[in-house]
């Protein structure tokens, strides 16, 4: 028995897992149309690389990643692209997102698969590129691109997360029971990439069959399957890392900095499929449960509409919403026409019979139950108070952004306050405010620079005019020669006077501009009244560069810290 560690708090909600583990994983039927969302990762939505009318093969890439955190998307089956348009997307906002709509042709014909049989001797970079190419992302729910996570190497511990702590969800459990070999294949690849000293597979002890299956599959591999005590949220990556290694990874820190990396079992499985079998991520195991006739797990193609799957499981009367994800962290789908994504691990048909609505909320009585349930040791009642009073600076000071929104506080609250709603609200407001502040700072900098530019252009123009006038005057004087009439001679001083005046005005303007620039940047050009002519190109360039630097600094400075400091200053 290895020594396990514990994290603060946690809760033990009723599991409701057994209702969906009675039957083996079934292949979900192919719907008449697949709505494959382009947003399949933490980053930007992928950019479609097929056109309407194209025929696609199963596994053919249909969208390229757009940016580092984005992931490629592949056709889940063979068929014809009938539309590329915004479609309902599984997100609490109910906003639409670009989807490639595919009409399956029923042949389910694969594109050419290119397995990497000799992955053990291939360089890591090539395998990582292959993972990116295959659209492998974290299937535990975070949908973070796996090739970025697997780029870490020389780890102490590689943690494989099979805890699956949320009630109702059993997709990882069934995957471990039925496809332990495939998971271990994937773990071998991940271990090859990350070179850990040890590999620990954490599974909650309420899944004995899964543990047994994994232990059998791991025989001789050197990987250790560890049964961890059942407690929500032990399946949170940082919580599981804490349980298995004793390391507490602070917010804002990557676990690799502490020598640990964590992958979900389903991710490991898809890594195996991608490398060993050359199959991209085009389907996933989804738990269909809740108030349905046949709660069970299916392997469903990405883009299968939620409504189709719930009907397949047998929707019962009285279902008032479908939840995606678990009952603790999932969300109610605003539109059941949305196609499932790589993050869709569970669909729960919600009805008052399965998930009774909360009793009415009462005022907080400061009992502190939430604090003792909080796995990240926050003070949820204080955060609630601050969020409710819109005192967001204070909420941030109280580590609002450490909150993982696991819902444990809300679950135990005797006053039945929807605490997490307040944290989500506060986070959203803070993000929006930071975004606005950044935009305002940028606009200010651009405006100030524009004013500076206008003034500079104006003074340059004046200078040019003055120079031209001086040249003209000289020419005039030269052309007039000796026998100059008294009249022009009399005019001469007047012209010179004019020039002098112009030059003086211009010098003053330059000085003003220089002063202004100096004040704005805080550093910049040397002090003192710079002579007009001294404002040469080099200096202008320097001033401009300084202004840009200042603007960049301003933009970079985290708005959060600013706000906190202002708050502090006010209080002092």
């Amino acid at each position: 028995m290895r020594a396990l560690y514990d994290f603060n708090g946690g809760v033990h909600p009723p599991e409701h897992k057994a209702i969906s583990t009675g039957t083996p994983i079934r292949q979900a039927p192919v719907p008449p149309r697949l709505y494959v969302p382009m947003s399949q990762s933490l980053g930007n939505a992928a950019l479609p690389c097929v056109a309407v009318g194209d025929t696609v093969l199963k596994g053919q890439k249909i969208a390229e990643p757009d940016g580092r955190l984005s992931a490629a998307v592949h056709a889940p089956t063979s068929g014809r692209v009938v539309a590329i348009a915004p479609h309902a997307y599984p997100h609490p906002s109910g906003l639409s997102e670009l989807a490639v709509v595919i009409e399956p042709d029923g042949r389910d014909a694969w594109t050419e698969r290119r397995p990497v049989a000799d992955w053990r001797v291939r360089p890591a970079g090539e395998l990582l590129a292959r993972l990116a190419e295959m659209g492998v992302v974290g299937l535990g729910g975070a949908v973070f691109p796996t090739h970025l996570k697997a780029a870490a190497s020389a780890l102490d511990t590689l943690v494989i997360n099979g805890a699956e702590c949320e009630p109702f969800i059993s997709c990882d459990d069934m995957l471990m029971r039925e496809r332990a070999g495939g998971i271990v294949d994937g773990i071998r690849v991940l271990a090859h990439l990350t070179q850990p000293r040890e590999v620990l597979i954490g599974v909650e002890d309420n899944k004995p069959e899964a543990i047994a299956a994994l232990r059998q599959a791991c025989a001789g591999s050197g990987f250790t399957v560890v049964a961890v005590p059942t407690k929500y949220p032990s399946g949170g990556a940082k919580q599981l890392i804490r349980i298995l290694t004793g390391k507490a990874v602070p917010h804002g820190t990557r676990s690799t900095e502490m020598g640990v990396q964590c992958f979900n079992v389903a991710t490991a499985y898809s890594v195996g499929r991608a490398i060993v079998h050359g199959e991209p991520v085009i389907s996933r195991i989804v738990t269909l449960t809740g108030d349905v006739e046949r709660p069970h797990n299916v392997e469903a193609l990405l883009g299968t509409p939620v409504r189709f799957l719930i009907e397949y499981a047998g929707r019962r009367a009285g279902v008032d919403a479908v939840l995606m994800g678990g009952p603790m962290m999932g969300f109610a789908l605003p539109d059941e026409d949305a196609g499932i994504t790589k993050a869709s691990n569970c669909l729960i048909a919600k009805s008052p019979a399965v998930l009774p609505p909360r009793p009415a909320a009462m005022p907080c009585i400061r009992c502190g139950e939430c604090a003792s349930a909080c796995p990240v040791e926050l003070q949820p009642m204080d955060l609630y108070w601050f969020a409710k009073a819109k005192n967001f600076g204070k909420a941030q000071e109280w580590h609002l952004f450490d909150c993982i929104e696991c819902g444990a506080c809300s679950y135990v609250c005797p006053s039945q306050i929807p605490l997490v709603d307040y944290y989500r609200y506060a986070k959203g407001e803070i993000w929006a405010a930071e975004h606005d502040k950044k935009a305002a700072d940028r606009a200010r900098a651009r405006h100030e620079f524009r004013q500076f530019r206008l003034e500079r252009d104006k003074s340059e123009k004046t200078q040019r005019l003055a120079e031209r006038a001086a040249i003209k005057e000289k020419e005039l004087a030269a052309s007039l020669g000796q026998p100059a009439a008294p009249a022009p001679r009399a005019a001469e001083p007047a012209v010179a006077d004019d020039d002098a005046k112009k030059a003086a005005i211009q010098a003053a303007m330059e000085r003003a501009a220089a002063r202004k620039a100096e004040k704005q940047t805080g550093e910049a050009a040397p002090a003192g009244p710079a002579p007009a002519a001294a404002l040469d190109d080099a200096k202008k360039a320097a001033i401009q560069a300084a202004m840009e630097r200042a603007a960049a600094r301003k933009a970079e400075k985290p708005a959060a810290r600013d706000a906190a400091q202002q708050k502090d200053d006010k209080e002092r």
Partner: protein, 334 residues
């Protein structure tokens, strides 16, 4: 907008408050046994007053009356107050105390969850300041009154023929008086002090209730244990130094309202601290204050003042004892 979590433990504020009331029952039964049905009269008076005052204030504040009456918090305040009052005190005493507690200390601060001070203790303290003589009339186990006679005394101050007055002090009172007369503590404690055993039995009843609440996870262990430790920390060395002047720690732990306070008053979540370390500090300092005021101060018992004084410090205690967040212990972030 409905959002996760979609599951919640079925515990509600009403359930919590009802369990607190249930936990008081052993103490109440023992009180009735030792002090007479006067206790029940006090409980009934306090409960009725609390409900009426709460309803009136909720209505005046434009709050849903039924919802908040059902939460049971007013009853908890009423019961704690009634149990702290003299069992044979005049009816108006407990009525005024309860009304004060509910109206001033609770509702005017915003009702349930918003009162910075323990309402029951505010009511009690107000009475002991305003009516010290009446508050000192502690009926004792030797009160030779039958049930109807007790009620007649509570409601009409009418004494049966042959009895001139009921003025009996609590053991703590008695100890103080005797001490001022020059009688050593040991002598006073050695005599069969009226009401002492009764008080200890009732305290044991409260202790049992508090243990059950702790087992039900409704009160933390930190505050009560720290408070009892606070009392004992001062009582033990002083008793060892000069047993003639200072009573032993056990006497203090089971005398007066120590147990009631430890189990039910310092554990009031609303007016107490929320952090584990804060609860230890809060409880300990309440205990220290209880002992100091009891032994060196002007009042025979002092739970109310000790708790109220510490209530003032709660925001500060909470602020300074905030535990570090997950992962911050080694990282140096506080």
């Amino acid at each position: 907008m409905i959002s996760s979590p979609f599951m919640a433990r079925p515990t509600t504020v009403s359930v919590v408050m009802l369990k607190v009331l249930a936990a008081l029952v052993p103490g109440v039964v023992l009180s009735v046994y030792f002090y007479g049905v006067g206790v029940l009269a006090q409980l009934a008076l306090a409960s009725a007053t609390a409900l009426v005052a709460e309803a009136a204030m909720l209505r005046a504040r434009g709050q849903p009356v039924a919802v908040f009456l059902k939460d049971g918090s007013a009853l908890v305040t009423a019961w704690l107050l009634a149990l702290a009052m003299p069992p044979l005190g005049a009816w108006w005493l407990v009525v005024v105390a309860t009304a004060f507690a509910i109206v001033i200390a609770k509702q005017l601060y915003g009702g349930l969850g918003n009162n910075p001070f323990n309402p029951a203790m505010v009511g009690f303290a107000a009475m002991i300041v305003a009516f010290p003589a009446q508050m000192a009339q502690w009926g004792s186990a030797v009160a030779p009154l039958s049930a109807p006679e007790q009620l007649a005394y509570i409601f009409g101050r009418a004494l049966p023929a042959g009895i001139d007055a009921i003025v009996s002090a609590t053991p703590l009172d008695h100890l103080k008086t005797q001490l001022s007369l020059g009688v050593p503590i040991a002598t006073t404690l050695a005599e069969p002090l009226h009401g002492r055993a009764a008080g200890q039995w009732v305290a044991a009843g409260y202790l049992a209730g508090a243990l059950w609440l702790w087992q039900q996870r409704l009160i933390p262990w930190q505050t009560p244990v720290a408070m009892l430790a606070g009392v004992a920390t001062l009582a033990l060395p002083l008793w060892l130094l000069d047993p003639a002047r200072y009573a032993d720690p056990l006497f203090h732990l089971f005398a007066g309202a120590t147990m009631l306070g430890a189990g039910f008053i310092v554990t009031d979540p609303v007016s107490g601290p929320t952090t584990p370390r804060g609860r230890l500090i809060f409880g300990f300092l309440v205990g220290v204050l209880v002992y100091v005021i009891r032994v060196f101060g002007g009042f025979p018992d002092s739970i109310a003042f000790a708790v109220l004084i510490m209530n003032i410090a709660v925001p500060f205690i909470d602020h300074t004892t905030r535990p570090p967040v997950f992962g911050a212990k080694k990282g140096g972030r506080a």
